[in-house]
């Protein structure tokens, strides 16, 4: 991909003292030594200043050691993704500098921990300023604790950003408000040691290279997609979850293991994913709102169970936090490559794709209710970034949450019936449901083809009626399925299509494309299956639609063309190197394409 235009510097103008309303920070070193928590201290600082935040990390799939990086974007306007370049790097080793160098802004700043010597030469552009401070040595020599590198580094960084020392200390105290007083003072000492060393290294108070804005954002939540999705499930009455540890879905298991028991529920760590989905199926059969979750390889192991939900007509939410595959792939890297698996097999299901972290909450509630309505599988397609990256979102509206129990029968309703058939053929395909324990509701649930009574039958006429009945369930809810998010010029001849984590990047790209004279409209579908008319129409109505996704074969493009969208209008933009799309990548590619057409 040729770089046609230069990456956009984050905020502000390139004056002698840069002023930021949008800044990207990277903190990197060896994982597990605590230095990366500088990013979370900065996060607290910017939150205090009323900025919107987006935070992510890049961690090798091992516990301690291995290169690791934490990233933070703080901006006055919401961003929803990282920017194109890194403005400020806090590097604890050479590798950090080498990895960050290609992404550094030309007028960026590097704080380098020089405990073991100067930074590598010839790696960084000459225009980048480097402050060498022996952070690690100071922590060990003066404070006897390696871990305090974080507060020392934080002190130095606040001087670069031109934050008043008292404000910075206040933010640190707020951040550590729950730790014991003695520990608090140790951290504050470290912070002051950082300030003292900043003084000695050309970063005196009141004369900073940079300054930052005040944000003025109202109170928000800083939450990841996995946390928001888990919370939504709880609020929607979800009380049973089963999973097997796997990156990047594990946080859902841990979140629910902590919270569900407080509400009379259970989250179970199963012996494998085959067990996990069947545990959840068992719970769901009793009428409990249940969910199973995994990622790529584990989601594949669950497929027989998902087909059972479709055939036996059992309501369950299955969440797939996709990661780079195939097979074990790259566990900690982003990809959107399970769509083919999610829609495979000849049975009805709905596949939802939350648009962003906040939407994970809404969509989790929707999914939990929808499973009850269709008595079948509802799959939620998350991805590594959406699952694990945290961002600021508006507080959730808890008072507006409603539960839909679909056609679940009460004991009184069953008592009033002359007869009860579990798989009764109905117009909307949904059969009234009696859960075990109800007198008069005795029934047989099976994944085998069966007659209305639940007794196994392979009789051709019955088979046909049953397949059609199940298919009608999806048609009956189609009109209620979540519509996509749209931005931009509704009449634009050019469209951008992408789901999940790609959404915010498309939005940032569209702003810049418009400035460059290319108006686009964006559609970020929130229902992947069935393919909604709006998606097909969106493509039909445009000259060209760029389909932007994190996988190697264009699974979304295949999906929508299978749903009736004209193939020849679609141009795929694919990324499968494990790193997330940057707005600049999209802008470059699209401008180049449009210029050549």
């Amino acid at each position: 991909m040729n770089v046609a235009i230069k990456p956009e510097p984050s905020g502000g103008q390139a004056a002698a003292r840069r002023h930021f309303s949008d800044i990207n920070v990277m903190v990197a070193g060896q994982g597990g030594d605590g230095s990366l928590t500088i990013a979370s201290l900065l996060s607290a600082l910017f939150a205090h200043r009323g900025f919107h935040l987006y935070s992510t990390s890049n961690i090798a799939s091992r516990i301690k050691g291995g290169h690791a990086a934490a990233y933070l974007r703080a901006s006055v306007k919401p961003s929803g993704c990282m920017g194109d370049v890194i403005d400020l790097l806090v590097a604890f080793d050479d590798e950090a500098v080498e990895i960050a160098a290609p992404a550094m802004a030309p007028d960026g700043i590097v704080v380098f921990d020089s405990s073991k010597g100067p930074p590598p030469t010839g790696v960084l552009a000459d225009t980048i300023r480097v402050f060498e401070i022996p952070i690690g040595r100071l922590a060990v020599r003066d404070l006897r604790r390696d871990l305090l590198k974080n507060c020392i580094g934080f002190g130095v960084v606040t001087r670069i950003l031109g934050i008043d020392d008292k404000d910075a200390e206040g933010s640190l105290r707020h951040r550590f408000r729950r730790i014991p007083e003695a520990a608090m003072e140790t951290n504050i000492d470290a912070f002051r040691l950082g300030l003292a060393n900043a003084d000695e290294n050309g970063l005196p108070a009141g004369d900073s290279p940079w300054t930052v804005d005040e944000g003025g954002r109202e109170e928000h939540l800083m939450i990841s997609g996995n946390e928001a999705f888990s919370f939504g499930f709880l609020v929607a009455g979800g009380r049973f979850y089963a999973g097997y540890p796997i990156t990047p879905a594990t946080e859902i298991l841990t979140w629910l293991e902590r919270r569900l028991p407080q509400f009379g529920g259970i989250a179970m760590q199963a012996e494998d994913e085959l067990s996990a989905i069947n545990l959840a199926i068992g719970a769901a059969m009793t009428g409990v709102r249940a969910m199973a979750g995994s990622s790529g390889p584990g989601f594949v192991l669950m497929q027989e169970g998902v087909s059972q939900l479709g055939s036996a007509e059992i309501p369950l939410v299955v969440v797939d936090c996709q990661r780079a595959g195939p097979s074990t792939g790259m566990p900690t890297k982003v990809e959107q490559n399970d769509i083919g698996t999610m829609i495979s097999g000849d049975y009805p299901r709905v596949v939802l794709a939350p648009a962003d972290q906040g939407d994970c909450f809404e969509m989790s509630i929707f999914a939990t209710n929808l499973a009850q309505r269709i008595q079948g599988p509802v799959i939620a397609a998350l991805d590594r970034a959406l699952s694990q990256d945290s961002t600021t979102v508006k507080p959730f509206d808890l008072s507006g949450v409603e539960l839909d129990t679909g056609k679940r029968l009460t004991p009184d309703e069953i008592a009033g019936l002359k007869e009860y058939r579990r798989y009764l053929i109905t117009d909307d395909g949904v059969s009234p449901w009696a859960v075990p324990g109800t007198p008069g509701g005795e029934n047989l649930v099976t994944g085998n083809e069966r007659n209305e009574w639940g007794l196994v039958s392979a009789e051709p006429k019955n088979r046909k009626r049953m397949v059609e009945k199940r298919a009608r369930k999806i048609e009956s809810v189609r009109g209620d399925l979540p519509k996509g998010k749209r931005w931009g010029d509704a009449d634009a001849a050019i469209g951008l299509l992408g789901f999940g984590t790609v959404g915010a990047v498309m939005e940032r790209a569209a702003e810049r494309l418009a400035k460059a004279g290319v108006e686009v409209q964006i559609l970020q579908p929130r229902t992947l299956w069935p393919v909604l008319d709006e998606t097909v129409e969106f493509i039909r109505a445009r000259r060209r639609v760029y389909v932007i996704e994190h996988n190697a074969i264009g699974q979304l493009a295949h999906l929508v063309s299978g749903g009736g969208a004209p193939k020849e209008r679609m141009v795929s933009i694919l990324k499968f190197d494990g790193t997330p799309f940057r707005a600049v990548d999209l802008v470059d590619f699209i401008l180049e394409q449009e210029a050549s057409l």
Partner: protein
């Protein structure tokens, strides 16, 4: 009375051991006077995995090998139900073997009756993991279960010894209904079509229930007896091991009956939300 499905006629070959198991389950339900709507029979896939259609209770046909996790989910989510899992030896000890170990360890409250015929009846007679031409029989799941911490009820019956089989089924159901945990009952249930073992198996069995000196609460003795019998080409029947370790456990009320109305929990939901506020 609401009319529901009419229980099916068994599809088994005449003489199949599974008839004896169904008889014992029906007899036990009647003996304990449990209403049919409070029972769910969870079945595996196989000839044995059709039993649930024949009794008139709630029934579920699990995926092949997955009857244990599914039953665990049911038992945890609604402890008021009497859950009886049934299935074949292929289901239990081949495709579902991993779950067997973990289920014994978790000790959930349900009965598991394995109809062991040493073959895959439904797929026409292939060997199962309990078949071994050399030894008396292949995997002895009763000893496998004995080796797992958490085991609380382990018994073996023979489908032709119908009185004892019903007693064992009643004992297993009482064990789970008292909240003591997982009751594993292996039934030697010959397949007359592919591997007729009525005579050989009957000759190999030593009925521990007839031995007044045998103490089924003694784990070491249970092991020793199994090993000693195997050395003679024999195997134990009756209650092999029982433990009250699981008694008195706190069992949560049926989740399905809980009030999940968001309005009722709104204060606590708000507390959770505010932990994310910035």
């Amino acid at each position: 009375m609401t009319k529901t499905y009419t229980p099916a006629e068994p599809i088994w070959c005449a003489g199949c051991g599974d008839f004896g198991v169904q008889g014992a389950i029906e007899g036990a339900i009647a003996q304990l006077a449990i209403p049919k709507h409070d029972i769910i029979i969870m079945a595996g896939i196989g000839c044995s995995g059709t039993l649930q259609n024949n009794v008139g209770t709630y029934g579920y046909h699990a995926l092949h090998g997955r009857v244990l996790p599914t039953s665990t989910g049911v038992a945890y989510a609604n402890p008021e139900l009497t859950v009886i899992a049934v299935g074949g030896d292929g289901d239990a000890f081949a495709i579902g073997a991993g779950h067997f170990i973990h289920t014994v360890k978790r000790n959930p409250n349900f009965v598991y009756i394995v109809m062991n015929n040493s073959v895959y009846g439904l797929t026409k007679g292939q060997d199962s993991p309990t078949m071994d031409a050399g030894a008396a029989h292949g995997i002895d799941a009763t000893r496998l279960a004995l080796s797992i911490p958490g085991a609380s009820f382990i018994a073996r019956g023979f489908s032709r010894w119908s009185r004892q089989l019903q007693e064992l089924t009643v004992a297993a159901m009482e064990h789970v209904r008292a909240g003591r945990g997982f009751a594993f009952l292996e039934v030697l249930s010959p397949c007359v079509t592919y591997h007729d073992t009525y005579v050989t198996w009957e000759g190999m069995l030593e009925n521990l229930d007839d031995d007044p000196t045998y103490d089924p609460t003694d784990l070491a003795a249970a092991f020793a007896r199994g090993v000693a019998l195997e050395a003679q080409g024999r195997m134990p029947a009756g209650v092999i091991f029982r433990s009250d370790g699981g008694a008195g456990r706190k069992i949560p009320p049926a989740m399905a009956l809980q009030d999940i109305d968001p309005a009722r929990h709104i204060d606590r939901y708000n507390d959770i939300m505010s932990s994310y506020a910035v």
